[in-house]
Amino acid sequence: MDLNLLKRLIRIVERSEITEFEVEEGDLKVKISKNNGTVQQIIAQPQTAAPQAMPMPNAPAPAEEAKEETKSEDGGNDYYEIRSPIVGTFYRAPAPDADPYVQVGDTITPGSVLCIVEAMKLMNEIESDVGGKIVRILTENATPVEFNQPLFLVEKD
């Protein structure tokens, strides 16, 4: 089965109200179920009488880890992590001589612009998906970041 198709199916289920989804294509059966907001996938082997089983495709990692509130070491508080959606270079300001979008201690609302991550010719503006206060900025300006790398810690409202 096409891995990209599988990823898209997972994405669709993840974004939707559906909790369970099953599809058969030829003799491959895929079942995707969602428990507690996280997507799990089970790839069932065909139940035909094939004596030697086909090698199991390596189950791909879930397309996106559900964002979670992480237990931080900072006094045991639960802080919310804002992570990078792409691989790229992290910028705290829209231009080299401009003021940073946010500083530690700033109050933010959902939709507040926090930073830019640039890759190739793509400028990706990251907005907060929560409201609260910036507790810590985890990455230095103008340094590379990996996919899903934590960028900001937010104390949620």
Binding site: N4, I86, L122, M123
Partner: protein
């Protein structure tokens, strides 16, 4: 003025450009699509005759004379992730390169990641902007600036500009060109989801400087080395004395 009927006859897409916004003048077509939440349909395109604040990377200006060129942005907001978004960066230039080849049989080269050159001169630049909520990319806008019928360029340029008209030797139908680009773009976008290695290989076959000694500048620092390859995410792999280095962005030129 852009003739939408003429464009529509040649445009065979199912999604891309089916929602078409025409503006006489705007600051930037990218900003328009990023900021106007009421135009949020996947595949929407906005085309303008004049941008008062056209831009490139690092807030560089993109200047284009009125009604002679193609200035448009495409909105993509379905199934975007960290992997395929980079292929959209490369694939957008592939669609333009294929279109110029198909219609005018001109030798087109792509400069990493997505500038388009004819005979070493720049004919098109593409800037992508996206917005994310937390770590989810919500939408990507792809802004195309293509020099079509402009015949004189004044001012300072990093790379000498040209237009398709100057290279082909005759005026060019913008409507025909846009429809060809959207037809190709829709196909490339489909391939990104189904057979991304084809997109990467098609892009590489047009990539100028692959295998050459290059220098790459990120605005502050310059690195030199051999442009060995691009990885599966489209990043440039530079062979330097200390090994293979992955380059995320920058201006590439031949080392002279």
């Amino acid at each position: 003025m852009f003739n939408i009927e003429e464009f529509d006859i040649k445009c065979n897409t199912e999604i891309i450009g089916r929602n078409f916004i025409y503006l006489d003048e705007i600051d930037s077509t990218n900003s328009f699509l990023l900021n106007k939440s009421e135009y949020n349909e996947h595949g929407t395109i906005v085309l303008t005759e004049y941008q008062s604040a056209g831009k490139g990377r690092l807030d560089r200006e993109w200047v284009s004379t009125k009604e002679e060129n193609l200035l448009f942005s495409i909105l993509i907001n379905e199934d975007i992730d960290a992997e395929n978004v980079n292929l959209i960066v490369l694939g957008s230039s592939l669609a333009v390169a294929q279109s110029i080849e198909n219609l005018f049989q001109l030798p087109v080269e792509i400069k990493w990641p997505n500038d388009i050159l004819i005979a070493g001169k720049k004919v098109s630049g593409i800037l992508l902007e996206s917005s994310s909520k937390g770590n989810v990319i919500e939408k990507v806008v792809i802004g195309f600036g293509i020099n079509v019928n402009q015949t004189s360029f004044e001012g300072q340029y990093g790379i000498r500009p040209t237009s398709i008209r100057l290279e082909a030797g005759h005026p060019v139908s913008r409507e025909r060109l846009l429809s060809e680009i959207l037809n190709n773009f829709e196909e490339v976008l489909t391939q990104i989801f189904s057979d991304s290695s084809k997109v990467l290989n098609d892009w590489k076959s047009r990539c100028k400087m692959l295998g050459e000694r290059i220098k790459i500048s990120d605005g502050e620092n310059t690195k030199t080395g051999i442009f060995e390859d691009v990885d599966e995410m489209g990043f440039l792999l530079l062979r330097t004395q200390s090994g293979l280095e992955k380059i995320l962005f920058g201006d590439v030129s031949l080392r002279t």
